[in-house]
Symmetry: C2
Subunit: 187 residues, 2 copies
DNA sequence: CAAAGCATACCAACCAGTCGGTATGAGTCA
DNA sequence: TGACTCATACCGACTGGTTGGTATGCTTTG
């Protein structure tokens, strides 16, 4: 689904998709009722891909929850390399374009983005409880992390390189450190 | 340019644009060499619009620079009302869609977004100097503010309402308060 | 009159989606 | 075993409509 990430959903024709995937148009419409159905399936697949990337990563076994959330952010920062289509979020790209015209795709993208935030909320909740932080919630902080990442992607697209996104993530990390303090049992 | 904000650039045809503006296609192509030229002009106009909205707002005369930057964020939060197309950023929307396919529009959107950040950098610089904050720069912080806003817009589009964007801005304000402390001469 | 501003009709390219047809393989029965 | 049926997977030419853009001529203004 690289083409959609490069050119957008509307900018990618079904013909182009089929040519890139090496299938014919007949096969495409045999498997998907419409182009919109492909968008829904792509968003769902993206959510599953994200889950497989982050859900059982090594760093999630650190006993200190603050170390876990900082490691997650560092991991995200490390992925910011290459061209925009290589590190940006398919769900964020699609929902921006289609949130008004296709409720089905909007919902699939929402599920992907907020679902990923949900999967992080536990660690943030533990970190908040562990440090006795007040004024923020685990789910709220997890969603804010996603918002900053999405915003960083837009800055990177505007600027033509990943540096702008890395700056945003660096500020995000700074925010978390100000909230939680540095991690305990590292170094 | 409401149509572009609702449906995206590719999703809005020149015919629809002309109908909405009450002009004919002949007049359109008399004024713009191409649809892409319209996009460039729209991004530039958006930047000018933002400048007129924020550059000489009342709150920018507060003698405390920290009060100024917090007032800016509060002002942005207050604008998060209604449907997504009413409060989201035209430049952010367009650059996401066209950053690869149209370098001219990408550059115009970059100028709009980063130009607005530049116009805030002075206040952030003053706030940093005033409070003796280390580890962040005025321009870096101003750009981060834009990134969080853009990310909030995406979360709002995914969620179908402005609440998600307000949450992001609330965390952004929290970050600034942690960095600078509360403002001095307010209340 | 001459140029600029604008309107109308038009074009080739492209779009998502359709449709008649084929290939294949599993199940049935004599 | 082999002829028959049925369902699923797949093919690619085709269609009706839309796209950005153009060609031409009218109309207003200086």
């Amino acid at each position: 689904m690289r083409l959609v990430r490069q050119q957008g959903f509307g900018g990618t024709s079904v013909d182009a998709l089929c040519a890139a995937a090496g299938v014919t148009k007949g096969a495409f419409f045999h498997h998907f009722a419409s182009k919109e159905a492909l968008g829904v399936a792509a968003a769902a697949a993206w959510g599953a891909h994200a889950a497989s990337l982050f859900d059982d990563a090594q760093y999630r076994r650190d006993p200190d929850p603050v170390a876990r959330v900082l490691a997650y952010v560092d991991h995200r920062a490390a992925l910011l390399e290459g061209a925009a289509w290589e590190f940006t979020c398919l769900a964020g790209t699609m929902v921006q374009e289609l949130h008004e015209s296709s409720p089905a795709i909007r919902e699939a993208c929402r599920a992907s983005i907020f679902g990923h935030a949900d999967s992080l909320a536990g660690d943030f909740h533990d970190a908040i409880a562990d440090r006795g932080v007040v004024g923020v919630t685990g789910i709220g902080l997890a969603r804010h992390v996603q918002a900053v990442l999405q915003g960083g992607f837009i800055m990177a697209k505007a600027n033509g390189g990943p540096e702008a996104a890395r700056d945003a993530v660096a500020h995000l990390r700074h925010y978390l450190v100000l909230i939680f303090g540095e991690e305990n049992d590292h170094d």
